[in-house]
C-alpha cells in the first residue's frame, strides 16, 4: 500500500504535486542558466577564432559523438516509458525501464571515458597542458579547454542523474509509486530529459562543426 505522502500544509496531493513540479522546473531553469554561461563563452570565442574552432572540431570523433547522442535519446525514451508504466501500476515493467535508462547512462559515460582517453593519448589536454596537434593556435587550445569543461560538467550531471535513477528504481521496487502518487518519478524524469537536452546542443557545437 503506497504510504500517504500528503504533507500537512498542502490541501491535497494535486497541489503538492504541482508545487513540487514548479520547484523542479525552477531548478532546471537555474541549471539552464548555469550552462548558458558556458555557451556564451563558446559563442564569443568561436566568433573570435572561427577557423581555429573549425580545425579543432576536425580532431573530435564524430561517430562516437553521434552514438552518444542516440544513446541518450533512447535513454530519455525509456525514462518516459518508466513513468507511463508506473502510472498504470505496472511497477515491474517500470523498474525494467529504469534499469535500461541506468544501463544506457553507463554506456554513455563509458563512451565518453574512451573518447577522453583517445584525446589524452593524442596529447589533447585542457588549457596550459595542451600538447596536441595545432597547439600553437590559441583558438584550438580554447576549443578543447571549453570542450573538456562543458562535456565534463555535463558528464557530472549525467552521474548525478544515474544516482537519481538508482534511487527512483529502489523506491519503485518498494512500491512507493502508483496511479495516485508518482511525482518523484516524474521529477527524476524531468532532470534526465534536461541532461539529454544539454547534450543535444553540445553535440553540434563540438562534433558537427565542419
Amino acid at each position: 500500500m503506497p504510504t500517504t505522502h500528503h504533507v500537512a500544509h498542502f490541501e491535497d496531493l494535486a497541489k503538492q504535486g504541482h508545487a513540487a513540479r514548479l520547484g523542479m522546473w525552477l531548478f532546471l531553469g537555474s541549471e539552464a542558466l548555469l550552462f548558458s554561461g558556458l555557451f556564451t563563452l563558446y559563442a564569443a570565442y568561436r566568433n573570435e577564432y572561427t577557423s581555429d574552432f573549425a580545425a579543432g572540431a576536425q580532431l573530435t570523433n564524430l561517430p562516437l559523438g553521434t552514438i552518444m547522442t542516440a544513446v541518450l535519446l533512447v535513454s530519455s525514451f525509456f525514462m518516459a516509458f518508466a513513468l507511463a508504466t508506473a502510472r498504470q501500476e505496472r511497477s515491474r515493467v517500470s523498474i525494467a525501464a529504469l534499469a535500461t535508462t541506468f544501463l544506457l547512462g553507463i554506456v554513455f559515460l563509458g563512451l565518453k571515458a574512451t573518447e577522453y582517453t583517445m584525446h589524452f593519448r593524442d596529447g589533447i589536454f585542457p588549457g596550459a597542458y595542451y600538447t596536441g596537434p595545432l597547439g600553437e593556435r590559441h583558438g584550438v587550445v580554447l576549443f578543447f579547454t571549453l570542450y573538456y569543461i562543458m562535456t565534463g560538467l555535463h558528464a557530472l550531471h549525467v552521474i548525478g542523474g544515474l544516482v537519481l535513477v538508482g534511487w527512483l528504481a529502489r523506491r519503485t521496487r518498494r512500491g512507493d509509486f502508483g496511479e495516485a502518487w508518482s511525482t518523484p518519478l516524474e521529477l527524476g524524469g524531468l532532470y534526465w530529459h534536461f541532461v539529454d537536452i544539454i547534450w543535444l546542443f553540445l553535440w553540434p557545437l563540438f562534433y558537427l562543426l565542419r
Binding site: 514548479l22 531548478f27 548555469l34 554561461g37 570565442y45 588549457g127 590559441h138 587550445v141 579547454t145
Partner: protein, 543 residues
C-alpha cells in the same frame, strides 16, 4: 483582512501562551527546525553577526585612509581587507539579510500559509549559508583573497593569496540563495490562502517574489564564473588567460550578468519593507499599488539586461556601451515610479512618526540620491571620469547602506514586536536612527567629491591633496559604527526586558498582525479568509 471574527483580545501578559519560541527550547529543536519562523530568526542572527564582521573591516579600512601614507597596515593587508569587506557584506549580509530573515518569517504569515512550500529545503538553505560563511571565514584566516569582491582575472589567476576557499564559500552561499529563491516562488504560487489573489498580495510579498526570480535565475552564472576563476587559479586552464588567447573581458560579462541583478536582489526586499512601512504609518492605501507591483517585477526582469554599464571603460565595444546605457536608463524608471508612489502615499494620510518611518525618510533621500547618481553614471561619458573612483564607491554605498541597510533597520524595528513579542524604547531608537543617517551622510558625501577629484578606488596610499575629505569620511564612519552598535544593544536588551507587545502593537491591517506575537508554532488554527485589498484603511474604523 483579518479573520472574519474581530481579533481576540490579547491574552494577559503573565500567562505564557505557547508560541514558536517557547514551544520547545532544546538545541536540537533549533538545529533541526523546519519552522519558517525559527529559520528566519537563525538567519537574522547569522546576518547580524556578518554585518558586524563586515562593519569592523570597513572601520579598519577607513582608519587606514586617514593619512595618505601607509601607517596602520601594508598594501597586501589593505587589499585583503577591502576584498573581505566586499565579500562578507555582499554575500553574507546584503543578499541573505531581508529575504532570509524577514522573508522567511513574514511571507508565510502574510499570505496565510502554515509554512513555506519545502520546509526541509529551507533548513538546508540555512545550513548552506552557515557552511558558506565558515568557508569564507576560513579563507580569510588562511590569508584571504586580495582581488576585490569582483575576482577579475588575470590578476585573480595569479594572486598568491588563498583565493580558492573564498571562492568555494561564495559558491556555497550561491546555492543557499538559489534554494531560498526557489522556495519563495513556489510558496507564493501555491500556498496563498483563500481569497488572497495576486492583486491582494502585500507589497513585501511581491518584492520577495521579484527578488526570488533573480535569486533563482542569476545565481548560477555567478557559480559558473567563480568555478572558472578557481580552475584558472588552481590548474591554469586559461579560459580567461590572455597568454592562451583568452579574453578577460568575457569574465566581466559573466560576472556582471550576475552581479548587477545581485544589486537588485539587495535593494528590492528593502523596497518591499518600505512599501509596508509607508502605508502602515500613514494609515492609507498605497498611492499606486499596481505601479509598485509592475515596478518590482520590471526591475527583476529588465535588471538582467543592464550589466554592461560596469564595463564602459573596460575595452568593451562602443556599440555595446550604447546599448547598455539605454537599457540602464530604462530600468531607472522603475525606481523613480517607486519613489513617486511612496511620497504619494503620504498624501492625505494620518502620519504617525515612529522609528521605521524615520528609517523610511533616511531611505527615501539616500536611495533617491543613489539612484539619480546612477542615472548620471549611465550617461556614458560621465562614467569615463567616474569609473573605478570613489564616486562609484559613494554611489553604491548610497544604495546599499542608504537603501538596503536602512530598509533592514526599518524592517527590524517594524517587525521586532511581532517576531519576539517585545517592544523596544521608541526614543532611543529614534536617536540612533538620526545618528546612523547623519553619520552616513558625513561618511559618503565626501566620497562623491573625492570621486569627482579623481581619487581611484581600492587605493592604499593616495596623493596628499585628497586627505581632508578622507578625514571627514573616516569620522562619519565612526558615527555609523557607533549608531548601529547602540541599535544592536537596545534591541538585545528589549529581547528580555522589553514590555510585552500585543498581537497588533501598531493596530495595523494584515494577516500577520491578526495572530499573537510571537506567533504560535503553526501560525493559523484554520486558514484565514481574505476578502479585500491590502492596506484598506479607508474601509476600516480606525484612528
Amino acid at each position: 483582512m483579518t479573520t472574519t471574527a474581530s481579533p481576540r483580545p490579547p491574552a494577559p501578559a503573565h500567562v505564557e501562551t505557547k508560541n514558536y519560541l517557547n514551544a520547545e527550547t532544546t538545541f536540537r529543536s533549533w538545529a533541526t527546525t523546519t519552522d519558517h519562523k525559527r529559520i528566519g530568526v537563525l538567519f537574522l542572527a547569522g546576518v547580524t553577526l556578518s554585518a558586524m564582521l563586515g562593519g569592523t573591516f570597513a572601520l579598519l579600512l577607513r582608519l587606514e585612509l586617514l593619512t595618505p601614507e601607509a601607517d596602520v597596515m601594508t598594501a597586501m593587508t589593505y587589499n585583503r581587507l577591502f576584498t573581505l569587506h566586499g565579500v562578507v557584506m555582499v554575500w553574507l549580509f546584503m543578499i541573505p539579510a531581508i529575504p532570509g530573515a524577514f522573508g522567511n518569517f513574514m511571507v508565510p504569515l502574510m499570505i496565510g500559509a502554515r509554512d513555506v512550500a519545502f520546509p526541509r529545503l529551507n533548513l538546508a538553505s540555512f545550513y548552506f549559508y552557515l557552511s558558506g560563511a565558515l568557508l569564507v571565514i576560513a579563507g580569510a584566516i588562511a590569508g584571504g583573497a586580495d582581488t576585490g569582491w569582483t575576482f577579475y582575472p588575470p590578476y585573480s589567476a595569479q594572486t598568491p593569496t588563498a583565493l580558492v576557499p573564498v571562492l568555494a564559500g561564495v559558491f556555497v552561499l550561491g546555492i543557499s540563495s538559489t534554494m531560498t529563491g526557489l522556495n519563495f516562488i513556489v510558496t507564493i504560487h501555491t500556498l496563498r490562502t483563500a481569497g488572497m489573489t495576486w492583486w491582494r498580495l502585500p507589497l513585501f510579498v511581491w518584492a520577495i517574489y521579484a527578488t526570488s526570480i533573480i535569486l533563482v535565475l542569476a545565481t548560477p552564472v555567478l557559480g559558473l564564473s567563480l568555478l572558472l576563476v578557481a580552475i584558472d587559479h588552481a590548474f591554469a586552464l586559461g579560459v580567461f588567460n590572455p597568454a592562451h588567447g583568452g579574453d578577460p573581458i568575457l569574465y566581466q560579462h559573466l560576472f556582471w550578468f550576475y552581479s548587477h541583478p545581485a544589486v537588485y536582489i539587495m535593494i528590492l526586499p528593502a523596497m518591499g519593507v518600505i512599501s509596508e512601512v509607508v502605508p502602515a504609518f500613514s494609515r492609507k492605501n498605497v498611492f499606486s499599488y499596481r505601479g509598485i507591483v509592475i515596478a518590482s517585477v520590471g526591475i527583476a526582469l529588465v535588471g538582467f539586461l543592464t550589466w554592461g554599464h560596469h564595463m564602459f571603460t573596460s575595452g568593451m565595444s562602443a556599440f555595446d556601451s550604447g546599448a547598455f546605457g539605454v537599457l540602464s536608463m530604462f530600468v531607472a524608471i522603475f525606481s523613480a515610479i517607486k519613489v513617486f508612489t511612496w511620497v504619494g502615499t503620504l498624501y492625505r494620510g494620518r502620519i504617525t512618526l515612529s522609528t521605521p518611518l524615520l528609517y523610511f525618510f533616511g531611505f527615501l533621500f539616500l536611495f533617491a540620491f543613489g539612484g539619480m547618481t546612477g542615472v548620471a553614471l549611465a550617461s556614458t561619458s560621465l562614467d569615463v571620469h567616474w569609473h573605478d573612483t570613489y564616486f562609484i564607491v559613494a554611489h553604491f554605498h548610497f544604495i546599499m547602506v542608504g537603501g538596503t541597510m536602512m530598509g533592514f533597520m526599518a524592517g527590524l524595528h517594524f517587525w521586532f514586536p511581532k517576531m519576539f513579542g517585545r517592544l523596544y524604547s521608541q526614543r532611543l531608537s529614534a536617536v540612533v536612527a538620526l545618528l546612523a543617517i547623519s553619520g552616513f551622510i558625513l561618511t559618503f558625501t565626501p566620497q562623491f567629491l573625492l570621486g569627482n577629484a579623481g581619487m581611484p578606488r581600492r587605493y592604499h596610499t593616495y596623493p596628499a591633496e585628497y586627505q581632508p575629505l578622507n578625514i571627514i569620511s573616516t569620522i562619519g564612519s565612526w558615527a555609523i559604527g557607533a549608531g548601529l552598535l547602540i541599535g544592536l544593544l537596545y534591541l538585545l536588551v528589549a529581547l528580555w526586558r522589553g514590555k510585552p507587545a500585543g498581537s497588533n502593537p501598531w493596530n495595523l491591517l494584515g494577516l500577520e498582525w491578526s495572530i499573537s506575537s510571537p506567533p504560535p508554532p503553526h501560525n493559523f488554527e484554520e486558514p484565514p479568509k481574505v476578502w479585500q485589498e491590502p492596506y484598506d484603511y479607508w474601509r476600516a474604523r480606525n484612528d
